[in-house]
């Protein structure tokens, strides 16, 4: 199972030490430049460079593949469509731009701790204070959203195992209630633990 949570790769490369804000800015600019004025070769070069950045930043090269893998079905669709419309080079360019965007944003994720990212969001959201939004709350909500991913997985696995152990085959709808109840229980317990830790 791949989750956002397991992604951070500790290290002390340049990418790790660069502030999150700078990384996001670079990411944004690079993608914009390649998208707006990139020729085919700029785009292809960009993908190659982004892939090379992984080992340079101390991130194992297999993460390049792990990042790109989920993209493959979409790339296949795009290639198929553009080959049909008779423009295979456009297909290559589009794929390269998408690959570049995914690889670079992946690299930001891999080299930035969630808490750092949240601190950045908190600062960026600071102007919203005037609208009555509390930036620290916003950051906490984001953190909890990320935290919810393994929680849902656990609730699902637990209910599924209980379902299978009791020999209830062919009636998967019976799992809905236990999954929801499990989630509500965990959410309640977590809310209470947060209150106890002064994070409410």
């Amino acid at each position: 199972m791949v989750t956002v949570l397991g992604l951070y790769q500790p290290g002390d490369s340049l990418a790790h030490r660069t502030p999150a804000g700078v990384k996001l800015l670079v990411l944004f600019c690079a993608v914009t430049v390649v998208l707006v004025l990139g020729t085919l070769w700029v785009a292809v070069g960009g993908v190659v460079v982004s892939a090379l950045l992984y080992p340079l930043c101390g991130v194992r090269a297999r993460y390049v593949w792990r990042m790109l893998r989920p993209l493959l079905p979409f790339l296949a669709l795009i290639v198929g469509f553009q080959v049909l419309t008779g423009d295979p080079w456009a297909a290559v360019r589009t794929c390269a731009v998408l690959g570049l965007a995914v690889l670079l944003s992946g690299l930001v994720t891999l080299t930035t701790q969630v808490s750092t990212m949240l601190a950045l969001f908190e600062r960026l959201a600071a102007p919203l204070r005037h609208l009555g939004v509390r930036p620290d709350r916003l950051a906490l909500v984001l953190a909890l959203t990320i935290r919810a991913i393994p929680m849902v997985t656990v609730a699902w696995q637990t209910s599924r195992e209980a379902y299978l152990a009791r020999g209830l085959r062919g009636r998967p709808h019976l799992m809905v209630v236990p999954v929801v109840v499990g989630l509500v229980r965990s959410a309640e317990a977590m809310g209470e633990a947060m209150t106890a830790r002064g994070l409410d």
Partner: protein, 246 residues
């Protein structure tokens, strides 16, 4: 010092704490009692997670009804299920988040996190995804995350219930070495031998209060009597209704 004055509390009309009065001054206090006897509810009143319907809970004279936030900072709480206490993705981040708004700067926070992780054997796991730790490590993390804020009192609600024997011992040893006052709710009776005081709860009341050995003897005798009265049938009792407790 924590004080309970005539604390009574009901959930949906069912009384789970009945007129409990106690002064909790000793350094190590154990709380034991049957399932549903009200231990967790009592513990929750100590830091204002539960505000009793009647009576008061005071920390150095300050009422949890009015000073819940301050009291929660001073009274740390560890829950039975370590999984639900972890909020942040990595071990180090989870410990650090308790220090938000503490006024410490980044370097100081890092330093404190590192120190507490080292003390609890988690220093090598700082950047690990927290949800992938073992149960024992998760509970140790939950404990570290609470201790990093340096509470004066630590309330632990069955912190070892979901752990294997080795981890039970590790957590117990850790609790024993803490400088803080510790109030420990547990079903592991032998972990209370060197405690200063053990309170036995039954049906929402304190039915015994004294030295560990005497308390455990009292509790054991009471439970055996209860099991015999139930006629050997498996029968889970809940305090008020006499209905099964699920």
């Amino acid at each position: 010092m924590l004080q309970l004055e005539n604390v009574t509390h009901a959930y949906e009309g069912r009384t789970v704490l009945r007129d409990v009065t106690a002064e909790l001054a000793e350094h190590r206090i154990g709380v034991i009692g049957a399932n549903g006897s009200g231990k967790s509810t009592l513990a929750r009143t100590l830091n204002g997670l539960v505000v009793p319907d009647h009576g008061r809970v005071l920390l150095d004279g300050r009422d949890t009804r009015r000073h819940a936030r301050e009291i929660r900072r001073r009274v740390g709480f560890v829950f039975p299920d370590p999984g639900t206490q972890i909020i942040m993705p990595t071990v180090g981040e989870d410990v650090a988040i308790g220090l938000r708004g503490s006024g410490l700067d980044r370097a100081e926070i890092d330093e404190r996190v590192q120190r507490i992780l080292r003390r609890h054997g988690l220093a090598d796991h700082r950047d690990h995804p927290a949800h992938l730790l073992s149960g024992g490590q998760k509970q140790m993390l939950a404990l570290a995350s609470v201790l990093v804020t340096e509470p004066e009192i630590l309330v632990c609600d069955e912190p070892t219930t979901l752990l294997d024997l080795r981890n039970v011992k590790v957590i117990e040893r850790t609790l024993r070495t803490l400088p803080q006052q510790v109030i420990l709710l547990t079903h592991h009776l032998d972990s209370l031998v060197d405690f200063d005081r053990v309170v036995v709860m039954d049906e929402g009341s304190i039915v015994f209060d004294g030295a560990p050995a005497a308390a455990v003897a009292h509790y054991t005798a009471r439970m055996e009597r209860g099991a015999t009265e139930a006629g050997g049938e498996p029968h889970l009792r809940s305090p008020d209704s006499g209905e099964p407790a699920w």
